[in-house]
């Protein structure tokens, strides 16, 4: 496991705090994280239901049961990154540069890219989960940091910042990627109609330089 220091935002002190970015993880680390993440989500969902939240209003859990099918996990061509702090995973991401995924933006169509298969911040860092428990999220900018890793990693691969992903279909998630300069290419019928987002080379550079 390789690790480098990486600042995330501590919401309790309203200041940056140094975590560690770890790479060379495996799918097993995702399963390991789930042993903590899943109960945290269940606790929150139980509180939501108890408070009368209708099941349809519970945050998307499109792939939150992915680990039940972990036997199908392909380890080919994937890299897993995690942000570690306070003795637990604060966020995880799996990327691939497999030839199965190619760019879709017209100006750069058909080129290689880094495809983000999975990205998630721990439930205690997600307001939708902490609020029903009357708690505050612990750390901020986890998603931003992981996206930054995807883009920087991709530049190392020589793909000039071309990154693609299927976001969960809701304004909150999609807005996050849009505000970081990713272009919406509409819903993808080949991926259960999830909305597809992609970085143009220029937009990726703007994001890295600290622009939106």
């Amino acid at each position: 496991m390789i690790e480098i220091p990486l600042d995330i935002f501590d919401l309790a002190t309203d200041a940056p705090v140094t975590a560690s970015l770890r790479s060379d993880l495996t799918a097993l680390n995702l399963v390991e994280a789930e042993t903590l993440w899943a109960p945290a989500r269940f606790k929150s969902i139980a509180a939501m239901l108890k408070a009368g939240t209708k099941p349809k209003d519970i945050p998307q859990h499109h792939h939150w049961n992915w680990w039940l099918k972990a036997g199908e996990l392909s380890y080919m061509d994937t890299e897993v990154f995690g942000i570690w702090h306070s003795d637990r995973w604060q966020g995880l991401m799996m990327i691939t540069s497999s030839v199965l995924h190619r760019t879709k933006i017209e100006a750069q169509k058909g080129k290689e890219l880094v495809y983000v298969k999975y990205l998630e911040s721990a439930p205690w860092n997600v307001a939708a989960f902490t609020k029903p428990l009357n708690e505050s999220p612990k750390f901020g900018a986890i998603g931003t940091r992981l996206l930054e890793v995807a883009v920087r990693r991709n530049i190392v691969h020589g793909f000039r910042g071309r990154v693609g992903l299927h976001a969960l279909p809701n304004p909150e998630t999609e807005g996050f990627y849009q505000r970081r300069g990713m272009q919406s290419l509409g819903v993808d019928p080949g991926a259960e109609n999830l909305p597809y987002y992609e970085y143009s080379e220029a937009a990726a550079q703007t994001f890295l330089k600290g622009g939106g």
């Binding site: 390789i2 690790e3 480098i4 600042d7 935002f9 919401l11 940056p16 970015l21 790479s23 945050p59 998307q60 499109h62 792939h63 939150w64 992915w66 099918k69 972990a70 199908e72 996990l73 392909s74 991401m93 799996m94 495809y115 983000v116 298969k117 999975y118 998630e120 911040s121 997600v126 307001a127 939708a128 902490t130 999220p137 901020g140 900018a141 986890i142 998603g143 931003t144 992981l146 996206l147 930054e148 890793v149 920087r152 190392v156 992903l165 299927h166 976001a167 969960l168 809701n170 909150e172 998630t173 807005g175 996050f176 990627y177 505000r179 991926a191 259960e192 999830l194 890295l208 600290g210």
Partner: protein, 161 residues
């Protein structure tokens, strides 16, 4: 990793944290991929379930003292199709066939559907009984006591659950 120079600007980080606002940022590609792989496997049929289905239909037919032709006739199923099911060659039998067979063999249709991969409900107790049944289902002329017991156990669980 060494070549990755992460943004070290604290103000940028603060701005990004505020903007991200602890939103759900999840990405769904892996979920879709796994679901697809899972359903492909369902379509192909689980080989173990296929064995259990084959043996269960055969043993149940024999314990009811029926010949292949008789069962096919009573269930309105082609003899060739029934033979294919009993030999474990059919990976995805039709729902109608399974339903008809279940009626004649007096087995719960839902459980037979489950074995044939038509539904994908999982039940550990059922799976374990199916596994034990499969393990004891060596082909012999008459059903041994052990085979009969394993079949009865599986049928019991099928009826109960």
């Amino acid at each position: 990793m060494a070549e990755m120079n992460m943004n070290k600007n604290a103000e940028w980080l603060r701005k990004m944290a505020k903007d991200e606002a602890n939103a759900v940022v999840s990405v769904g590609g892996l979920g879709v991929e796994l679901a697809n792989a899972h359903s492909r496997r369902q379509e192909e049929g689980d080989p173990l379930n296929r064995t259990v289905l084959a043996k269960l239909v055969e043993f149940r037919r024999r314990s009811l003292g029926m010949k292949v032709e008789q069962l096919a006739d009573a269930a309105g199923v082609e003899v060739a199709e029934l033979l294919a099911i009993e030999s474990g060659e059919v990976s995805s039998p039709e729902g109608r066939t399974m339903f008809q067979l279940a009626q004649v063999l007096k087995l719960p249709p839902k459980k037979l559907m489950q074995l044939s991969g038509l539904t994908n409900v999982r039940d550990r107790r059922f799976d374990e009984a199916a596994l034990r049944f499969a393990a004891r289902s060596k082909p012999v002329e008459a059903l041994s006591k052990e085979q009969r017991e394993a079949m009865e156990e599986l049928v019991k669980i099928m009826v109960e659950s």
